[in-house]
């Protein structure tokens, strides 16, 4: 069963998100006054080669990818979701 991982990367609480603020302001400018706040993050979707690695093993690997490359833990936190394709 081929798996797919979705990694959500967002700024940690307390880190100012100017991008989010710009989006909120632009939405307000366009008349969407109900929006009080916006945050922007990234989703990285990973597809894997066929293998019989179990769910936990895959998750551990993806975690390693996040720590090494996909997120900068000085400013970002991440969340991993695994799905069967």
């Amino acid at each position: 069963m081929p798996m797919i991982a979705r990694v959500y990367v967002g700024l940690k609480p307390g880190v100012l998100d100017p991008q989010g603020r710009t989006i909120a302001n632009s939405l307000n400018d366009l008349g969407f006054n109900e929006v009080v706040d916006a945050k922007q993050g990234k989703v990285i979707e990973l597809r894997f080669a066929e293998s019989d690695a179990g769910r936990d093993a895959v998750e551990a690997r993806v975690k390693e990818m996040c720590e090494k490359l996909l997120a900068n833990t000085v400013i970002e936190s991440y969340r991993i979701e695994l799905d069967e394709e």
Partner: protein
Amino acid sequence: MQTAVIVFPASNCDRDAATALEKLTGKAPRMVWHNDPIIPDDVRFVVVPGGFSYGDYLRSGAIAANSPVIQDLKRKAEAGLPVLGICNGFQILTEARMLPGALMRNTNQKFVCRISRLRLANAKTRFTKRYDAKNEIDIPVAHHDGNFFADDDTLRRIEGNGQVVFRYVDNPNGSRNDIAGIVNEAGNVLGMMPHPERAVDKLHGGTDGIPLFKSILESL
């Protein structure tokens, strides 16, 4: 004196850095390719230049920080080799955890290219001694992700240690405490968003970058 410039696939200030180093040392720097596992032993000073290393995809400097040459640079810097990271080079050094903090998107979301005035926050580092009595200099900036962030504890620490070297007089990117450049605790690794290598020639962008290169080269 042998110097070196690290070259990533999409570095683009590598030539600017090489031109400046050659002008100041009289000798062409070694251009070290990102896939090289080793920086040659005769190299006494390394510049990690500006540019977009890997297109700055994912995050500026993130992919470059994982390249083979940076692993060797880390080892050599820990052993005392002086390193200057400029712009993308600064981003790479923070991503590689050779310097604290992170560089985020400019607050106004836009790329900014202008001559920026900097205040010398610490004129006693190996990189700034030659600025003498000067306390403000003009150095060009050109970046999209120059907004320096560090959490409160880190900020207190680097301020307390005198690790903040340059501050913007007119903050162009939202950096905390107007920080434009910092050194590591040992003082041999400097990262800065402004481009001193673009300020070594009167015709190009002024000459306020020269004392920086002189300071570090003379300290060797």
